[in-house]
């Protein structure tokens, strides 16, 4: 089974790069821009694939980066920057859940899903749209914790080691959990197909 995603291959280089970028940003706040541009998309995707709409994904992403920007001087680089950033992201999501508790436990219906224009523009856009909805639907069938694992792995493109830091579990536990989840999702996909 090929579970390799873009971030995994270069995780050591990426983390080393983050250490340098964090140091530069701590010396000069304007240097934070490099970290911002590097991590905005993963953070945005992490929220988007939970909330299913652009506005909330943008709002929460903004909160995360404003918070990280403000707190960076106090950040102590004993763990991966990504783990720190996604800890903030998760805190914002928890906050959002609490404030939106009446939104039917934040269930996102496929009908209400804001499918990105880029996906719709592709030549096989009908198939793309279908696949997009299928992925979202499979995600929504998972528990909150399971969704978080998948989003950290695929949307945030974190390595298993980084996921372990975010979720305070061993790297191997994160790896096995994701593998088990994917197996289950595949079975679900096959059942849906049948």
């Amino acid at each position: 089974m090929d579970l390799t995603i873009k971030g995994e291959r270069n995780q050591h280089e990426r983390m080393a790069e983050d250490v340098e970028l964090v140091g530069a940003a701590q010396r000069n706040p304007l240097e934070f821009e490099a970290l911002y541009r590097k991590w905005l998309t993963p953070v945005y995707r992490y929220f988007y694939f939970r909330l299913g709409n652009v506005k909330d994904a943008e709002d929460l992403s903004a909160q995360v980066f404003l918070k990280a920007y403000q707190d960076l001087p106090c950040y102590r680089s004993r763990g991966a920057f990504s783990a720190w950033l996604f800890t903030i992201a998760h805190a914002r999501l928890v906050d959002y859940y609490r404030k939106n508790s009446r939104k039917a436990a934040l269930e996102v219906s496929i009908e209400e899903l804001e499918i990105p224009v880029s996906a719709m523009d592709l030549p096989e856009r009908a198939a793309q749209k279908g696949e997009f909805e299928q992925v979202f639907s499979l995600l929504m069938g998972l528990t909150e914790k399971e969704q978080t694992l998948i989003r950290l792995r695929f949307m945030a493109e974190l390595s298993y080691r980084e996921i372990g830091q975010v979720l305070h579990c061993k790297e191997d536990t994160a790896r096995k959990s994701v593998a088990r989840l994917l197996e289950r999702m595949k079975k679900q996909m096959e059942n849906d197909h049948d």
């Binding site: 090929d2 579970l3 995603i5 983390m15 250490v19 000069n28 706040p29 304007l30 240097e31 911002y36 541009r37 905005l40 998309t41 945005y44 694939f49 652009v54 994904a57 943008e58 992403s61 903004a62 980066f65 404003l66 920007y69 403000q70 707190d71 106090c74 102590r76 004993r78 763990g79 720190w84 800890t87 903030i88 998760h90 805190a91 928890v94 906050d95 609490r98 404030k99 990105p116 880029s118 996906a119 592709l122 793309q128 696949e131 997009f132 299928q134 992925v135 499979l138 909150e144 914790k145 978080t148 998948i150 695929f154 949307m155 830091q165 975010v166 979720l167 305070h168 999702m185 996909m189």
Partner: protein, 468 residues
């Protein structure tokens, strides 16, 4: 060929990107935020917080009490549009008339400066900038004193729209006896966009201040008010009062304070997401966050607040309704929340079920378990890794609750650093210990909390009559 699930997920993921407009707008806001001092909408969360900082925070909060600050404000302040609260006495210095400097066709004009014992506020504007000046962000602002020293900004903000920069920057108070200085403003030399800024990169404008007020200066009176919230007395009661107000052309500014009955509660704050205002006819009146006067030492003063009522066309009285208040509590001695037997040598991964509900200051907190964790290994520290306790809180009765818990037991271990923020099943509260992990009979106590305190506070406020 059928696509694998992983490929489907990856394709779906790759199709989602934040828009370039959002990306640029947010970065612009973040850069601007370096120069703003607006009170945070929520009390600050403590993250990666050394234990000593909790104590330091307590000291700071005790030093800067609202009673002291408001007492010093009584009857002494006026409101100057464009500047804010101004101490109206013989020691306050003013810029008598605007000062301008021209560079490459652009003109920087210092419109107003007021310097009192609390702060120096400078309002300036730059006009005539070339078209390619949108990326010129004059983020570096200093007051250069005759002795060569510089005063740093304590807050304020600036905008650059349509080639016009408008700034209002707050600095520390001028040293006693100093009446001359220079405003220095520049584009940060390390700004990667500096090459695209076609306007002058730096400005230095000399100015002199005197106690003489400008002839056309319109100081608005700050009127005393006696509006108070109607809340039941109790251990966790918060009384909110509107102490002063200023009538503007387009609304009012209300200055108020909190009186906290719980001695552990160091600071309260308005939850601007839930505060509402209605007039006597039931019309919703918009509210905005407004600057409060900073402490002369540069600290944000707790337990006072300022709200702008952004409308004047309403039927009095105005009723402010608050559902939540931000509370920052410090428990100096710690309040024990649970105990467990960690044994003589707790190991990483070892877990103890707690399953206990505890009520702290009226907020119910459910503790699920505690687990031994170790510092992340990735950064290659030379010394041995510290162990910590990860405490899982499953839920609390507050809309938001963030606690800092320290554990004590046998051994020499003391709290070193850790995370804070709203903990959950996925994100337990973790604190690492130097000198060894406490073992044996371990008791964990809460030392700090930041939470939304629920309630129903109504404050009926009557705008002052025009001749008051």
């Amino acid at each position: 060929m059928t696509k694998s699930l992983e490929n489907k997920i990856n394709d779906a993921v790759q199709s989602v990107e934040p828009t370039p407009e959002f990306t640029e707008k947010l970065w612009k806001e973040m850069r601007a935020s370096t120069q703003t001092d607006r009170a945070p909408q929520r009390a600050p969360q403590l993250r990666w917080l050394p234990a000593a900082a909790v104590i330091a925070l307590a000291v700071i909060l005790l030093v800067v009490s609202p009673q002291r600050v408001w007492a010093s404000l009584r009857g002494l302040f006026d409101f100057l549009p464009g500047i804010g609260l101004v101490q109206d006495d013989e020691t306050t210095l003013y810029l008598y008339e605007p000062v301008s400097l021209e560079q490459d066709g652009a003109v920087l004009t210092i419109e107003q400066i007021v310097s009192d014992t609390n702060q120096t506020v400078v309002s300036y504007r730059i006009e005539g900038l070339p078209k390619n000046s949108q990326r010129c962000s004059y983020n570096v602002n200093r007051l250069r004193l005759p002795n060569g020293k510089e005063l740093l900004p304590t807050g304020g903000g600036l905008s650059n729209e349509g080639g016009i920069v408008q700034a209002r920057i707050q600095f520390f108070a001028l040293p006693e006896g100093v009446t001359q200085a220079a405003l220095y403003t520049a584009v940060d030399p390390d700004d990667p966009e500096i090459s695209t800024c076609g306007a002058p990169k730096e400005w230095k404008v000399d100015f002199s201040l005197s106690t003489e007020k400008p002839a056309d200066m319109e100081l608005l009176p700050v009127v005393e008010s006696t509006a108070e919230s109607t809340a039941e007395a109790g251990d966790n009661d918060v009384k909110i009062s509107i102490d002063k107000s200023v009538a503007l052309d387009d609304g009012y500014i209300l200055y108020g304070s909190f009186q906290l009955s719980n001695p552990n509660w160091q600071a309260a704050g308005i939850d601007f997401e839930t505060i509402t205002a209605q007039d006597a006819a039931g019309k919703e009146i918009p509210l905005e966050q407004e600057d409060v006067l900073p402490d002369p030492n540069g600290f944000t003063v707790d337990n006072i607040f300022a709200i702008k009522v952004a409308d004047k066309d309403f039927t009095p009285p105005l009723t402010l309704h608050m559902k939540n208040l931000w509370i920052n509590a410090i428990y100096n001695e710690g309040i024990p929340v649970f105990s467990f037997d960690a044994g003589p040598d707790p190991q990483v991964g070892q877990n103890w079920e707690i399953d206990k509900e505890v009520t702290v200051d009226g907020i119910r907190i459910n503790f699920r378990d505690v687990e031994v964790v170790e510092e992340p290994t990735d950064q290659g520290r030379d010394d041995s890794l510290e162990k910590g306790y990860a405490i899982t809180v499953t839920e609390s009765s507050a809309q938001y609750f963030s606690g800092t818990y320290f554990c004590a037991g046998q051994g020499e271990g003391t709290p070193d650093y850790g995370t804070a923020g709203p903990s959950s099943e996925l994100y337990p509260f973790i604190y690492y210990y130097s000198g060894g992990l406490p073992y044996g009979s371990v008791t964990c106590s809460i030392f700090h909390a930041n939470f939304l305190h629920p309630g129903n506070w109504d404050i009926e406020w009557q705008p002052p009559l025009a001749d008051e």
